[in-house]
């Protein structure tokens, strides 16, 4: 008896709270599933901070259709199994927008799991926004209606990088060093295939894989690079693996250029400093010149507020999702997804399009090199990446083999 009364009381309280809240619309919640602790957190934390930073700005402009944007971090410790547990947690908490970037191994697990979830729950679907897991298959043979990629995939980047290498006749011997998992293998495979096509005279003098996130001392790998007599190194390493690789290389006086996918991983510039100038190249959606004063201001604010540098494509991703939500006038995942398909957007790095056929973003890309005395330095130094080559979205694009299956 007492229990029933108590229950009724609780229910009416809940109802009251509901009425009070109805004035404000329910928030649009996003779950970031990424490494937030441990050695790889240098890539998860800046994304989380960037999302919150951008969300604050977008919320001032009214959020998504008046729905406040909220970012919730879920730590996956860069482990695919743990990511699935965190995904389930996020879904159980009612979150329908999942963001992940670091590690195609994690991305692959999330992709399968989200596909399965959406198939089994046709009334309760989940979207996956991917800002950095760039293994090509996600937007080719494994493409999914529920997945959107906001970064150029590994093949696209390698295509541009090898175009640039092919034009430079100083490069004769290429050394490849990558992490030993699907993404690292994809980078190495693409590099060999494309170099052979574009510059058959270039010799691949090394093609090395090391365990992902396990190597603390890159000395043995550096002595291999040294003894191979390479005149350029290409690496898809990210997180701690690029950090320590570059650090070791500078320590041992390796002075050949490093063409990196992620040379701007936080911590790298601080640790390598002077020795990286004119030596570390980066292929990415933006550069450190900050020619647009508004973006430059944003970089300054971001660093001052969070201690991390601006992370352009993470910001662009959230802005695009907001644009799609506004366009769809809904938070329903299927409607948002349909609005995102083919969406054209004027981003800080130029005009971008979310290609409808495979959900691969089409965007301009830059190759840049580390310089000192830059007007807007990274990581509180005066070093940053200066543009040396640019590719517009048409040059960056690659065809897809995707045959998208859409919900009815």
């Amino acid at each position: 008896m007492v229990k029933t009364i108590f229950n009724r009381f609780a229910v009416s309280l809940l109802l009251l709270a509901g009425v009070a809240n109805a004035a404000a619309l329910e928030p649009a919640r996003f779950a970031l599933i990424d490494p937030l602790t441990g050695p790889m957190s240098v890539v998860g934390q800046p994304a989380l901070e960037q999302l919150k930073f951008t969300a604050d700005r977008l919320n001032e402009e009214g959020g998504i259709n008046g729905h406040e944007i909220r970012i919730v971090g879920y730590d996956n410790k860069i482990n695919p199994q743990e990511s699935l547990v965190q995904l389930q947690k996020a879904i159980d908490n009612g979150i329908r927008f999942i963001i992940q970037g670091n590690g195609s191994s994690v991305g692959s697990a999330l992709l399968s799991s989200i596909n399965k979830h959406n198939q089994r729950n046709p009334d309760d679907q989940v979207l996956y926004f991917n800002y950095a897991a760039i293994e090509p298959s996600f937007t080719n043979e494994r493409c999914s209606f529920w997945h959107f990629r906001f970064d150029a995939n590994a093949d696209m980047k390698m295509n541009m990088l090898t175009d640039w290498v092919a034009e430079n006749n100083d490069f004769k011997k290429v050394f490849l060093i990558n992490q030993d998992y699907s993404f690292g293998q994809a980078v190495s495979e693409a590099a060999m295939r494309m170099l052979k096509e574009k510059r058959p005279d270039i010799e691949i003098v090394g093609n090395v894989f090391h365990p992902l996130g396990k190597v603390k001392d890159f000395s043995p790998y550096i002595s291999k690079i040294k003894s191979s007599d390479a005149d350029v190194v290409i690496t898809g390493n990210w997180g701690q693996d690029i950090n320590l690789l570059i650090k070791s290389a500078s320590e041992y006086g390796v002075d050949v250029p490093f063409l990196t996918y992620y040379g701007n991983t936080p911590g790298t510039i601080t640790q390598v400093g002077d020795k990286g100038v004119d030596r570390i190249y980066l292929i990415s959606e933006y550069h450190g010149d900050f020619t647009d004063p508004e973006i430059a201001e944003r970089q300054e604010q971001m660093y001052k507020k969070t201690g991390w540098d601006l992370y352009p494509r993470v910001s662009v991703m959230l802005e695009m999702v907001k644009a799609a939500g506004d366009k769809a006038n809904s938070l329903d995942p299927v409607k948002v997804a349909r609005a995102l398909e083919g969406l054209q957007f004027e981003s800080m790095a130029g005009d971008v399009t979310m290609r409808a056929s495979d959900h691969q973003i089409q965007m301009p890309t830059f190759i840049s090199v580390l310089k000192d005395n830059m007007s807007h330095g990274a990581e509180g130094t005066d070093f940053n990446f200066h543009e040396v080559a640019s590719f517009d979205a048409e040059q960056a694009t690659l065809p897809t083999s995707c045959r998208m299956r859409r919900p009815k």
Binding site: L36, T37, G38, P39, S41, V42, Q45, D180, V208, F209, H210, P211, K214, V215, K216, D217, S219, P220, Y221, I222, S223, K224, K226, S227, Q240, N243, L244, E251, Y252, G253, V254, G267, T270, Q271
Partner: protein, 313 residues
């Protein structure tokens, strides 16, 4: 080829000496007190973080000396007010105590210094090359690290073999009760040894931090390997730990340096197999992180008392 050999040897020895610094403390504590200190690698991590934090205020060199002393004090306090009380409840309790302590230290480090790596780097002038061989620089810092490690090894040997304290420690290793009956303060000796062992781990952290990245996971990465060293060398044997450290250091470095696959090696002895097979395509480099544990299993099967151990475990 020669340059790979030379640098791999140098790097392997350096890594081995670091491992020895860690495992010497662990093996001393074990042989004397019968306590397998699970928190040992955590003291190593504390050393690195203390040196980083102190270095910001008092400079690199003073921090290099002060940090291990701080770790020693903490170690001694842990023994005096933690382990000694738990000791009455037997070995299992002690084991659990150090196990818990490892977690506590890990969490505290997360709390104080955050979960991302800190930028603990040696001063600029030490990053200049000490010598250049075959076009590869060997930094002053690596040279200094190697020197400190060798010096520490010599000092440890001198302390144990040539001093009165060393005599007491060696006696207490095997005949603790007798040393007590002779009027020496054995509990105080235990506290000293525990603190000293922790200081060695701290010193390893101080000089290893800049080489192996100072981050909250560093204890977990090195912890298991240190246990492997102690078991392979023989429980409680210092000289065994020394050989095992160098062995593992060199093995790991050389496995990375010589990128032969299993098929290549079988081919060399005249058995030809598919060089790109599931198993035969595995390279030595990808086995490198596993080598200590393979060694551990082999040693436990074929020589359970370890390389130099006197006791059957």
């Amino acid at each position: 080829m020669l340059e790979t050999m030379v640098f791999s040897t140098l790097n392997g020895i350096l890594y081995g000496l670091l491992l020895f610094m860690l495992s010497s403390g662990l093996t001393l504590i074990f042989s004397m007190m019968g306590v397998l200190n699970f928190a040992h690698a955590s003291f190593y991590m504390l050393g690195a973080y203390f040196a980083y934090a102190l270095g910001l205020h008092i400079g690199f060199w003073p921090a290099l000396f002060l940090a291990p002393c701080l770790v020693a004090v903490i170690g001694a306090l842990v023994e005096r007010y933690g382990l000694r009380r738990v000791h009455a409840s037997g070995h299992v309790a002690e084991l659990l105590f150090t196990f818990g302590l490892a977690y506590v230290i890990d969490e505290l480090v997360h709390l104080f210094w955050g979960s991302i790596p800190v930028s603990y780097v040696p001063p600029d002038y030490m990053q200049n090359p000490l010598f250049t061989l075959f076009g590869t620089d060997y930094s002053i810092y690596r040279g200094v690290t190697m020197m400190i490690a060798v010096f520490m090894f010599a000092a440890l040997w001198f302390l144990l073999k040539k001093t009165r304290v060393g005599l007491m420690i060696r006696a207490a290793l095997t005949h603790g009760d007798m040393v007590g009956h002779l009027g020496h303060n054995v509990p105080r000796l235990f506290m000293g040894v525990f603190g000293f062992g922790c200081a060695l781990a701290g010193l390893a952290g101080v000089i290893g931090g800049p080489l192996l990245n100072t981050e909250p996971g560093m204890a977990q990465t090195l912890g298991p390997i240190v246990f492997v060293v102690v078991v392979v060398g023989g429980m409680g044997s210092l000289i065994g730990a020394f050989y095992a450290s160098l062995l593992i250091g060199l093995l790991q470095t050389f496995f990375v340096a010589f990128d032969a696959s299993i098929a290549d090696m079988l081919g060399a002895i005249g058995i030809s197999v598919d060089p790109y097979g599931e198993i035969t395509g595995i390279t030595l480099a990808s086995l490198a992180p596993m080598t200590p544990f393979i060694l551990l299993v082999l040693i436990l099967i074929f020589r359970p008392r370890g390389l130099m151990g006197e006791l059957e475990p």
